[in-house]
């Protein structure tokens, strides 16, 4: 029990530290940290599939992208719209997209599932890239959703808006984290863990495995939608790359980097990966080289991720 209590304290401490960051950091670092939180949401949502259910999806960024494009469609040109409208809409679109794609791709397993999610993700990418649905291959700018409700708008200067977006991200990430933690403790979570361990046995016990998988897929798509919405809200621009499979692969990397057997692993991984990317940009022109070598090192040397390092020391 003390281990669990210690973990809770560590988590609360971590979130408290993150909450204090805007008090000391400049605009640049608040924006960077905001991006890290969005990446953490994406990684956390994907980990529901990869870590909890044991299915590797390479099309997850499609839902992230679909949600971001929803914001672009909704905001009228020249006008503004509250995030209280755009956020639920983005979640809805991401859920519907993941329901359709999940219903088809979950008929397959393992290697097939990976390729099929990859192909569907790429289909969404081409939808935004080539058809009139998107704004062209280079992306489009729009007015960022505002902080307003029922005709009241909170007017914010640039600094305050960045800080407000940061806290909204932190709030959503914390809600997602503790929500998932609670969910995985319920019967639903136990069944999901059972499917990861032995799908046939769960089926033999009478569970409709397909339905549980689809529920996970849609939930993780919806959560990716939250991340996609916050990306669009922060940047005020969308481009097809958001839905590309490179984005999905990066989210997988964050999970692997942080450790996929825990819930805080993906968050640590996302923060570490964003930080590494930033440092790589500062030091060298060749970001891909640095990223490639880090992934290679992580795959070869860190099969349990950052969270795994700490865990091992605790065991010994």
């Amino acid at each position: 029990m003390t281990a669990a209590r210690n973990e809770t304290w560590a988590l609360l401490g971590g979130f408290a530290l993150l909450a204090l960051l805007p008090l000391v950091a400049t605009n640049f670092y608040v924006t960077l940290a905001s991006s890290a939180l969005v990446a953490a949401m994406l990684a956390l949502s994907l980990n529901l599939m990869v870590g909890s259910l044991g299915l590797v999806s390479l099309g997850h960024a499609a839902f992230f992208g679909a949600a971001a494009y929803t914001v672009y469609y909704l905001v009228p040109s020249g006008g503004s719209l509250s995030f209280l409208v755009t956020l639920p809409a983005a979640i809805l679109v991401a859920s519907l997209a993941s329901l359709v794609i999940g219903a088809i791709s979950l008929r397959t397993k393992g290697f097939f599932f990976l390729m099929v999610t990859l192909a569907f993700g790429q289909m969404v990418f081409f939808l935004f890239h080539d058809t009139k649905l998107g704004g062209g291959g280079d992306g489009v700018f729009f007015t960022r959703p505002g902080f307003s409700a029922f005709g009241w708008e909170i007017r914010l200067d640039r600094r305050a808006r960045g800080v407000a977006t940061y806290y909204l991200n932190l709030l959503l990430l914390a809600a997602m984290f503790f929500g998932l933690r609670a969910l995985l403790q319920t019967l639903f979570g136990r069944v999901v863990a059972g499917i990861r361990a032995n799908e046939h046995r769960m089926r033999a016990l009478g569970y409709d495995v397909y339905r549980y998988k689809l529920a996970c897929f849609v939930l993780s798509g919806a959560l990716a939608g939250i991340a996609g919405h916050m990306w669009a809200m922060q940047k005020g621009v969308v481009n097809p790359e958001l839905a590309s499979w490179h984005n999905s692969a990066e989210a997988l990397l964050m999970i692997l980097l942080g450790g996929l057997r825990s819930l805080h692993g993906p968050i640590l991984g996302a923060i570490a990966y964003t930080g590494i990317g930033e440092i790589a940009d500062l030091l060298t022109e060749r970001r891909k080289l640095v990223e490639g070598l880090i992934i290679l090192a992580a795959v070869l040397l860190l099969p349990q991720g950052i969270a795994g390092i700490r865990l091992k020391r605790g065991d010994g």
């Binding site: 590797v56 192909a119 569907f120 790429q122 289909m123 692997l256 490639g292 992934i295």
Partner: protein, 289 residues
Amino acid sequence: MDLSGLLAQILNGLQYGLLLFLISSGLTLIFGIMGIINLAHGSLFMVGAYAAFLSVKSFGSLWLALPLGLIGGAVLGALLERFLFRYFYRREHLDQVLLTFALILLFEELRSIVAGNGFHAVEVPALLDFSVAVTRDFSYSAYRLFALAICLVLAAVLFHAIHRTRFGAMIRAGADKPEMVQMLGIDVSRVHVAVFAVGTALAVVAGMLAAPLYSVYPGMGDGFLIISFVVVVIGGIGSVGGAFWAALLIGLVDTLGKVFLPSVAGIAVYVLMAAVLLLRPSGLFARTQ
């Protein structure tokens, strides 16, 4: 569109399909036998295309590049197997995905260092820079016919090697029952090296043949990789014959789709894949077990 125009598009589709077959046959063999998901397979295609570009630029000839590409590709594949992939046969899919994703990034960076980040057209070899009169009022690019022929020859050699030779029997047996093959005293690791060498060589040569047709550009391996995945899914995992028919199907659907329904052509092949999965989840041409 008149008849000769349609004929040209059908030939284009077949030629594109055969190119896809060269890429996807390696992909399907490597997964079918070693269980490796090789996302970097598209990068090997790109390596071939850029090697052709550099060869034409430096020596003014594609002819030297093709045989060298076949040999160089085989060596590259064997080295990758021996020093990297061999350690990932028993690892989880996630690890394989990330390993090969890292390779994509490294190959892209290598491409950027060696050849820069621009688009480059690659000249069709002078010897083949003319059109062949197929009918009285229809002629077709000689280079495209040449690419088509080379692909067909390679496909025939591959089929012969897999179905008619002793080594092919080892490959097929290794795919079905690796432990049994091992117990019979056959060195399975040699089979693995060979499969990687052949798969890589085919992808590299496909890239070389493609360079004059599609020009070379950053990230060009990505598009071909994903379409090749669609081919493997439709053809059925591990089935080279399935990959052949699926590649021709996809080549025709994509090419004709771009002509007749340009607005939805980009997603037509994915819709086709979804339909196949709904009807036959293990692929159109999969063997029934």
